[in-house]
């Protein structure tokens, strides 16, 4: 995030559209990460981002202290995600029009080994993100924010309104907890796989 862009430009609070837009561009990536940390699993990130954008335009004139832009945006994002959680509803995701695979990346004809390694990395990342959302909020948020490229400890501390040393400690603890969760998850999967492979054999042996 560009430091100059991230500042609240003078025109933004006065409602100048270009200034507000520049502000949005500078901050929307980490705002998305905050939403990811708080939103219900079946919510649409894009919808929630739109909600945040609407709130920003409507309420920017109430922001008096330029230094408070990050906590202000975080509060909007957290409230938006929680509101979505309260009105949680069963929503059917309908864009799987063709096939069930995710678009992923396409680098031409990759070898089977490369493809397997890529799939494993992607699946591990997905599991980590899903499990991260089970961590307590104080660890979940810094971890998500740190995964936004370019977010420094200082910037994360500004967003969350705590000292840099606290962020550092929470990141270390959060990663340790996440690792523990990943290991538990892996053990559970192995156990399930073992049981699944044992079940047919058992069935064959029984009269």
């Amino acid at each position: 995030m560009n430091r100059e862009q991230a500042k609240l430009r003078p025109g933004a609070a006065a409602g100048d559209e270009d200034s507000i837009r520049a502000l949005w561009h500078a901050h929307r990536r980490w705002v998305a990460a905050i939403l990811l940390a708080h939103m219900p699993r079946d919510a649409e990130l894009e919808d929630l981002l739109q909600d945040v954008a609407v709130q920003v335009v409507r309420n920017i004139d109430r922001l008096k202290d330029p230094a408070a832009i990050r906590p202000w945006l975080r509060t909007i994002a957290v409230n938006t995600a929680r509101t979505a959680g309260r009105r949680r509803e069963v929503r059917r995701r309908g864009l799987h029009l063709v096939g069930a695979g995710s678009p992923g990346r396409f680098d031409g004809a990759a070898s089977a080994a490369e493809e397997a390694a890529r799939r494993e990395a992607r699946e591990e990342g997905e599991r980590a993100m899903a499990l991260c959302r089970m961590l307590p909020e104080e660890y979940r948020e810094p971890l998500m924010l740190r995964a936004v490229r370019g977010m420094s400890y200082r910037q994360i501390a500004d967003v969350l309104g705590v000292p840099v040393t606290t962020i550092e400690t929470r990141l270390v603890r959060g990663r340790r907890m996440l690792k523990e969760l990943m290991e538990r998850d892996m053990a559970r999967r192995s156990e399930e796989a073992r049981e699944a492979s044992a079940a047919p054999a058992k069935g064959r042996n029984e009269p």
């Binding site: 219900p40 990130l45 894009e46 919808d47 609407v54 063709v98 550092e168 990663r175």
Partner: protein, 237 residues
Amino acid sequence: MTDAMKTPAFDQGRDPTREDVLIGRVTDGEASPGDWTELEEMARRDAGVWQRLAEAQRAHARFEQRVEDAIAICELVELPRTQPGAGVLRFGMALRQYGGWAAAAAVSFAWLGVQLSGGAAPQGYGTGASMQAAGPLMGGGSQQPQAQYVSADELWSSYLDSGRQSGRVLGELAPVMVNARDLGDGKGTEVYFIRGVIERATAAEVRGWSLRADDTGQPRFVPDEDVLRVKTSGGAL
């Protein structure tokens, strides 16, 4: 209930070790030269430090990539524009909600345009390499019916251009890719995407909007059938 409320039990009591902190700083690109020196000292005593650092970096890289993929959508989310007297228009949402029928309508218009003009395609149509991928449209209005090969891209561009000139087409949405697959053997990638158009129209009679399921099964407000019929009747607009 959010996922966070199902938090499993953790050991939060143990303070981070110095090694944990240093590995975290290196992984996050926040390590100072002094931190590096300290980590190297540790690694001289315990070579496993390097392995733990590598594991931490790998785990972080995979997590970061997944989060970056997830938040990439934010590049498409712009601030809504404020419309005088109309409050804030949730632009992206509006586009997405009506994108489905707008795209369908756009394709219909393009097709109807050729049909209603008696099949006389504009000058220049039927030439160029894009013809190879084109479908045939029979020119029914000329004295000597003949096949006019017009590509979908040409029709689409023509529709957008004439729509913009008449003030009917306000803009085209960025295509949204919904799926893709590698064709293998260097043949490229087959992509599936949605295109949409924002239009403005004056209808002779507007009954209103109804809440219906869109093509993704989600409830959306869509114009009543009558509105669409007026739109596609040609002369009224």
